[in-house]
């Protein structure tokens, strides 16, 4: 099946027009970049700028809005945004005290945000960064610095933005950012590769009838390839891996904010079934669920599969995750 988009090179630019057409959250474009800002968070000392490749919609432009990021920058499909777009977005959000950049821990993003940070520092802008590292399949817990960012982005951006809304200093917001980053873990499973827009061919090899636990948003290798399994079996296994990961890092899961994320090609009814199974598991393991949400938050084009993200919350993080926010990607009313 072919994409309705006729030209992959134009996709990011055209999707931007779509983001700007939405009426619930008024956004402004940054110059001629595929980047937007929400300029109304005037009370913040620290502004939050996020970014990453396109193809993960509603991320990253969709997470800009009240209670969330001040600016978002998107690259081409599956490519980190360029340093100039990042830098111009930082300029546009007009920081009072400083800027916190939040992005997934991928080499392309690290490189491009790195150049932008150097440029910003050279201009005297105070800037810090959080590289989201929630994907437990991407490296062992002893090598957290190698872990990739996936749907955990949402909880991390949410808590950081709520902290910024409180008028905290850059140092404090960074502290909270590091904490929520450490407290957030995700695990995904894919049952079909994403389809390349132009060719209509699978972007990587995952034979029909097979699934891969831990496969990354760009087809990065996971931890376990096997034949088809229904979510009834998969969910307890994946939840077990997540709980074990929390334990390994001496942060046992007791009080959880939970997100069931569709990777693009998985139906809403499946996601709901999975959500019920996740909840049953957590109830059985005496984990208090303070928040549970279901939707498409961080996709990989039309990859079929889902991910489960869990944040271990405490009295500091819970209200930050519960604070009101509004955006195309994520809304807390």
């Amino acid at each position: 099946m072919k994409s309705f988009i006729h030209d992959q090179e134009a996709a990011a630019e055209e999707a931007l027009a779509g983001i700007l057409s939405l009426t619930d959250v008024p956004l402004h474009r940054v110059g001629s970049h595929t980047a937007v800002v929400y300029p109304e968070n005037r009370h913040r000392k620290v502004k939050v700028v996020v970014g990453g490749g396109s193809g993960h919609e509603p991320l990253f432009l969709g997470i800009v809005g009240p209670g969330l990021a001040d600016g978002g920058v998107a690259g081409q499909v599956f490519a980190a945004p360029n340093p100039e777009a990042i830098f111009d977005t930082m300029q546009e959000v007009q920081p009072a005290e400083g800027i916190l950049l939040v992005y997934g821990n991928y080499s392309g993003d690290v490189l491009n945000f790195g150049v932008a940070i150097d440029d910003a520092k050279a201009k005297g802008i105070q800037v810090a960064e959080i590289r989201v590292q929630d994907d437990i399949a991407s490296a062992p817990s002893s090598q957290r610095e190698d872990r990739r960012g996936t749907a955990g982005d949402i909880f991390v951006i949410k808590a950081i933005s709520a902290a910024a809304d409180r008028g905290l200093s850059l140092q404090e917001v960074v502290r909270i950012g590091e904490k929520i980053n450490f407290h957030t873990r995700s695990l995904g499973v894919a049952s079909r590769a994403a389809t390349a827009m132009d060719s209509g061919e699978p972007m990587f090899d995952l034979p029909d009838g097979e699934i891969e636990v831990g496969m990354g948003l760009h087809g990065e290798m996971g931890v376990r390839r096997s034949g088809y399994e229904p979510s009834e079996l998969l969910v307890p296994r994946m939840m077990g891996m997540l709980l074990a990961d929390f334990k390994e890092t001496e942060l046992p899961l007791t009080r959880a904010a939970v997100m069931i994320n569709g990777l693009g090609g998985t139906t809403v009814i499946e996601l709901l079934v999975i959500a019920g199974q996740v909840r049953r598991f957590l109830d059985a393991h005496s984990v208090a669920v303070v928040h549970q949400t279901v939707g498409q938050f961080a996709t990989s084009l039309d990859m079929a599969g889902f991910s489960i993200s869990i944040s271990q919350v405490d009295d500091e993080l819970e209200p930050l995750l519960e604070a009101k926010c509004r955006s195309f990607c994520y809304t807390k009313p």
Binding site: N82, G108, M203, F204
Partner: protein
């Protein structure tokens, strides 16, 4: 042999065109190793650079290289945008020159590879563009030190890059998206290294055709 600014611009444009022409093959290589977009990305960068060279009036040969580096950095995104951009922007740190001889070019690329190493963290053997660019620049530096002619040095550099790109077949990837594929990606040839080789090949042919 020395190239003036105009010749340099023509030759570099030609080399970029040769890279962009291999878009599909480079995508294909990236499909085996990464996310299948290296051809698209490098072609986007090369085309942006070509467009810029077509309108700008570089005042020095340095500017030819720094502007293509800047255009690539701005337009490409992805890992390779910064890496190729950084490499070509090595010329910024070199004495401004109105002509390109073997020493100037070797100087640009030596500076380029130096900054690249800082950003990249990869070394030869990690199955990245470094496997092509490092031996190519070494060959160039050596040729320049021996005062060999530009054409001969470019020929050796292009051959070293091609050999380096070929050598990535069988290497276990340790950087970028490919890293996560481990054994699955061992057989594939690195697309970034292939782009480096294509560029140097193009440069070599361009100079030879002057």
């Amino acid at each position: 042999m020395k190239l003036d600014v105009e010749q340099t611009r023509a030759v570099v444009t030609q080399a970029l065109k040769q890279v962009a022409a291999q878009r599909d093959r480079l995508n294909e290589l990236d499909r085996g190793l990464g996310d299948g977009d290296h051809g698209t990305t490098i072609a986007r960068g090369a085309n942006a650079a070509i467009a810029l060279l077509g309108t700008a009036a570089p005042a020095s040969v340095n500017e030819v290289f720094t502007s293509i580096g800047g255009a690539m950095m701005k337009s490409m995104g992805g890992a390779s945008g910064v890496l190729f951009g950084t490499f070509f922007q090595g010329a910024k740190a070199c004495p401004t020159s109105p002509v390109l001889d073997v020493g100037t070019l070797a100087g640009f690329f030596e500076k380029g590879v130096e900054s690249l190493k800082q950003k990249s963290k990869a070394v030869v053997g990690d199955k990245t563009m470094m496997d092509a660019v490092v031996p190519a620049v070494e060959a160039m530096a050596q040729g320049a030190a021996n005062s060999q002619p530009l054409e001969a040095v470019l020929q050796q550099a292009a051959e070293a890059a091609e050999k380096g790109a070929q050598s990535t077949k069988g290497m276990l990837p340790r950087f970028g998206r490919a890293r996560t594929l481990g054994e699955r990606a061992a057989a594939a040839q690195d697309p970034g290294a292939t782009s480096v080789s294509l560029f140097l090949q193009g440069l070599c042919e361009g100079v030879r055709g002057l």
